[in-house]
Symmetry: C2
Subunit: 367 residues, 2 copies
């Protein structure tokens, strides 16, 4: 999507032929800066320090990280070490393991001299695949947004509420939940996005707002507490979120707080959609609330917060009294009964086992 | 309640006989500091700058502010000016107007020479009345907490979730939602409080956590997004919140985000109670969602946040990109259908017109 008028991806091979460029997302939304990753260690650091984040982008960075590692040491030992180094950067990131496993299976049989070039090609293909998936989600979701917009009085924008950052910054381009929004905006449909701040890491306020701003999509930041009130008063036409993991029965595990928005949408007759790339579907589980273990993250994400002080410096402040504990579950599960539909790259389906099976017959076991 | 082991109120006449003491709540939770208010202007400033906040405490401070004003000028003009000065500090605070109207009606007929002493007595009585109301809510709510605790396995604390600060810092003592909690804790019932951070002003993280910590009540701060997940997993036994305004039919208007917690409680079979002092009931309205105008507060409350930097200085940081708008509705309405019961100083009632009428027959018109 666009930054300062120029189309960009979140990760790209640099023209020097020996490094890969990324956006330093830790400096957003205040500074737009890019980084040049020239070694395996630099790629691992970018993932570990969350300079890059979002499941698809982490996977893409890891694939390029393998390439950087193999340029230095293409032996079996080098390949194994690069894989292990990258895997331990974010131990719970399913997409990271998935990308590395695929790359490893592809590269390991090759002669060492051929591995680096093959890794570069693999990483580029992985990125293009992600872009195609997201573009597919966008094209599947666009008619939904058009239909909802058609019900609005003339001249009134379609109000979309989103939570966290399921935007292009989390992927290679387009984003998942944002793909239909960008396509709608680019097609001239008047849209306005309510951006949930998304505590504790504030990915909505810092990343989603930034990317919508740069692409020119009208939006308003709200606290996570506000969505229910807005829905009660007809200010939200549709809720559109991403997913970190989707069960075979259509339960959606996404950033903590998503479930509360789904409840409010249900209570107010507002449609609630999740943008679901096929790789996020876990066909082995059915009941998300019971079966998905929820990562408990660091208390410091709640008790401390970083932003730009008035002197321009990035500054961390403490919010809670010294001595008060904090708990930080990172995700929650929205049961399928609260989900109007899942927008996948193959089309839209009700959030049901049967619906998902019809779209992905090769993946789902027969009932 | 206790601060550093000593029982305190939030406002008190100083022993010098010419000033009133308050806690500077803008410095919480990092510093405990008190202020001495010696003039009408200082009292007005304390309210305007939110050194004191919370409807009952604002009312009490305004009553003492009248006293300070009348000490300097007890004439009709002085009384009128003091009233106007105080009323404009927080134009939308219903309790402020209520306290000033009551005081004015009491003081205006008196001869000027008698007004200051009468104002001091009025303010002291208003404070005692608030303490009695909150203590009454505590005593009405305690049996509820005892009954819920009795259902828990032995040795497991009763987990109470609260939102915002309906604690003693918002009142003169005890708080409203916290009164049953403090009484339960003091009676030896094992309680643990999930404290919603409460964006955007973070009254939970900064004030509720601080007062529970100082009184020794076990608690854990969470982001506002987390409560639904905790309820899905049986980690919340009861939700207990305050109210800014309650309709004659039992709708509860409280800090933005309360409605989302009520939805989650309802979805998970968790009882949801509001602590309702009689002065918060607006007998003239029935349908809270339609009839209560919601204050739209400053966007800067969302885009900027103040806390203690690591160098010890209170520092304000910016969270959103320059150019992104923010919207900030301050309150939402929880429909009575989601409320298990209202805890008033006269006892507990279902959130219905009939229930409220039975408790307050002198206030409610016959159906």
């Amino acid at each position: 999507m666009k930054v300062k008028g120029h189309a960009r991806r979140t990760i790209w091979p640099e023209s020097d032929g020996v490094s890969v460029g990324v956006i330093d997302q830790t400096r957003l939304p205040h500074d737009f800066a890019t980084l040049r990753l020239g070694t395996l260690a630099e790629a691992a650091h970018a993932i570990r320090s969350m300079q890059v984040r979002g499941a698809p982008l982490i996977g893409a960075t890891a694939a390029y990280g393998l390439w950087l590692g193999l340029r230095a040491d293409p032996t079996d030992a080098g390949l194994q070490q690069a894989r292990t180094t990258l895997l331990t950067t974010r131990p719970t990131a399913v997409n990271l393991r998935w990308a590395l496993d695929r790359a490893f299976a592809h590269l390991q049989p090759l002669p060492p001299a051929a591995r680096a070039a093959a890794a570069a090609a693999f990483a580029a293909a992985l990125c293009d695949e992600d872009v195609a998936i997201n573009r597919g989600i966008g094209e599947a979701g666009l008619p939904l947004l058009r239909a909802l917009a058609a019900k609005k009085p003339a001249g009134r924008p379609l109000n979309i509420l989103t939570h966290c950052n399921a935007g292009w910054l989390a992927t290679v381009d387009w984003g998942t939940a944002t793909a239909p929004i960008y396509l709608a905006h680019d097609a001239g449909l008047p849209v306005h996005v309510w951006v949930d701040e998304t505590r504790p890491r504030n990915q909505g306020a810092s990343l989603t707002a930034w990317e919508l701003l740069n692409h020119g999509v009208p939006h308003t930041v709200i606290v996570d507490n506000a969505g229910g009130h807005l829905m009660q008063h007809g200010e939200v036409d549709v809720v559109l979120v991403g997913t970190d993991r989707t069960t075979a029965h259509g339960d959606v595990c996404n950033k903590i707080g998503t479930y509360l928005k789904a409840l409010a949408a249900h209570d107010n007759g507002v449609p609630f959609y999740a943008a679901v790339p096929a790789p996020s579907i876990d066909w082995t589980i059915c009941d998300g609330v019971r079966e998905i273990p929820i990562e408990e993250r660091a208390a410091a994400e709640i008790t401390r917060l970083t932003g730009r002080a008035d002197d321009g410096r990035m500054t961390t402040i403490t919010l809670t009294p010294e001595g008060s504990a904090a708990a930080n579950p990172g995700f929650d599960v929205t049961p399928a009964r609260l989900v109007t539909g899942l927008i996948t790259e193959r089309g839209v389906t009700p959030a049901t086992a049967g619906g998902l099976r019809r779209l992905f017959p090769e993946k789902a076991p027969a009932p």
